[in-house]
């Protein structure tokens, strides 16, 4: 049970941290300065969530590890985030479509996790659901602006959607880890209910954005068990370089 909970909490913490790191890479590259500020705020919320999850992981593990241990000392194959959040930023359409596909999942996810039997996760969910409401509102509004904007922005948004779609299936995967936690009431709701909520949010936004929902073809998966895409080790390299060069440094 506690092994499953540890894996699960790390999967969620890694998802939040890796997405935050991608957003931080884009700061000063956004189309306008207000967007640079927005992306940094989204990243800050995600880092806050990751820190809370990593601290909890340390408690569950009981080996005296703090949040920095999980962020800075693990190798890429030890990270358990879904592949979607590690996809490179590409153009702004890719970045914002990735964010939207994630946020449309995160809002119903945190909303239902408020009812978790795990008091720590339920308390975090109470905070995260409020933050995620603003994230989704922001990323959705950009998807509509790009999709229903100029020919160029429409084409780029559709290309981003087509490229990222094969990475969405993994968000709803469940293996022995999730199954055990659903049975214990730690995870609410089961993945299929979440998929329905996500699909509804996405379909509604894409219609308004005049974008076409791609067909579900072969879905890419593996991040949740530590098999990552090529771009991932570069992301982790940059994330950890200071901590690796100066272990235990404080300032």
């Amino acid at each position: 049970m506690s092994d499953h909970l540890l894996t699960y909490v790390l999967r969620q913490g890694d998802r939040a941290l890796v997405l935050a790191q991608r957003l931080l890479e884009a700061i000063t590259h956004a189309p306008e300065i207000e967007e640079d500020m927005a992306l940094s705020n989204l990243a800050l919320d995600l880092i806050g969530q990751a820190r809370a999850l990593y601290s909890y992981a340390g408690e569950i593990e009981g080996a005296g590890h703090d949040e920095d241990h999980f962020a800075y000392t693990r190798d890429p194959h030890e990270f358990l985030n879904p592949l979607l959040v590690e996809r490179p930023n590409g153009d702004f359409a890719h970045l914002i479509v990735r964010q939207f596909l994630h946020d449309a999942w995160a809002l119903p996810y945190w909303s239902s996790m408020q009812h978790s039997t795990d008091a720590t996760l339920a308390a975090l969910a109470g905070k995260a659901v409020k933050e995620t409401t603003y994230h989704l509102r922001h990323s959705r509004s950009w998807v509509v602006r790009l999709g229903d904007g100029t020919d160029e922005s429409h084409e780029r948004a559709q290309a981003a959607l087509d490229a990222l779609w094969p990475y969405t299936g993994e968000l709803f995967d469940a293996d022995g880890v999730e199954d055990a936690l659903v049975a214990d009431g730690v995870i609410h709701p089961p993945a299929d209910t979440l998929h329905e909520a996500w699909r509804g949010t996405v379909a509604n936004a894409l219609e308004e954005a005049t974008l076409t929902m791609p067909d579900d073809g072969v879905m890419q998966r593996g991040g949740r068990v530590g098999r990552h895409t090529e771009a991932f080790s570069y992301l982790i390299g940059e994330l950890q370089v200071v901590a690796r060069a100066h272990p235990g440094a404080t300032w």
Partner: protein
């Protein structure tokens, strides 16, 4: 000689927020409780946003004040129930407005976003204002501009 418990609570509540000058952490409603038990004073705080960088600064400030008041500090963060902008006091609203930040409307039900009502400009009071960005200099604020007096200003988002 340690100060009395009630006086300590006042000292803690009067600490200014590091990112919102002139607004105290008491005004913001993030001080849950201050309890004295012998030589130890326990202060429960609640973070505004999970990633708010001011949280650690506030925690350090509280620790310093408690120690200066003659107690052994025990400062803890509590997550649940989640902080809401509804906990900002009326004086907090006035001080935000005086600092050029439009105070928040009542918080929406969790998971919902209400229809946007026009935000009043904290400088001239006009409601002819428009949203520039959902996120301002900090996660808790959005950026607006007033069409009447043309001044940009920040708006404390309901949470």
């Amino acid at each position: 000689m340690a100060v009395a418990g009630a006086e300590l609570e006042e000292l803690v509540r009067d600490i200014e927020d590091p990112e919102l000058p002139h607004v105290t952490i008491g005004d913001l409603g993030i001080v849950r409780s201050v309890t004295v038990d012998g030589p130890t004073a326990t202060v429960l705080l609640t973070p505004t946003y999970t990633g708010c960088p001011a949280t650690e600064q506030i925690s350090d400030d509280v620790t310093a004040i408690v120690r200066a008041a003659g107690y052994e500090p025990d400062v803890r963060m509590v997550m649940s129930p989640a902080w809401s902008t509804d906990w900002i006091t009326e004086r907090g609203h006035e001080r935000l407005r005086a600092a050029g930040i439009a105070p928040p409307p009542p918080a929406p039900e969790p998971g919902t976003v209400p229809v946007d009502l026009p935000v009043a400009c904290p400088r001239c009071g006009s409601r002819r204002t428009r949203l520039i960005s959902q996120f301002g200099a900090t996660a808790c604020k959005a950026s607006y501009v007033c069409s009447a007096c043309t001044e940009p200003f920040e708006f404390f988002k309901a949470l």
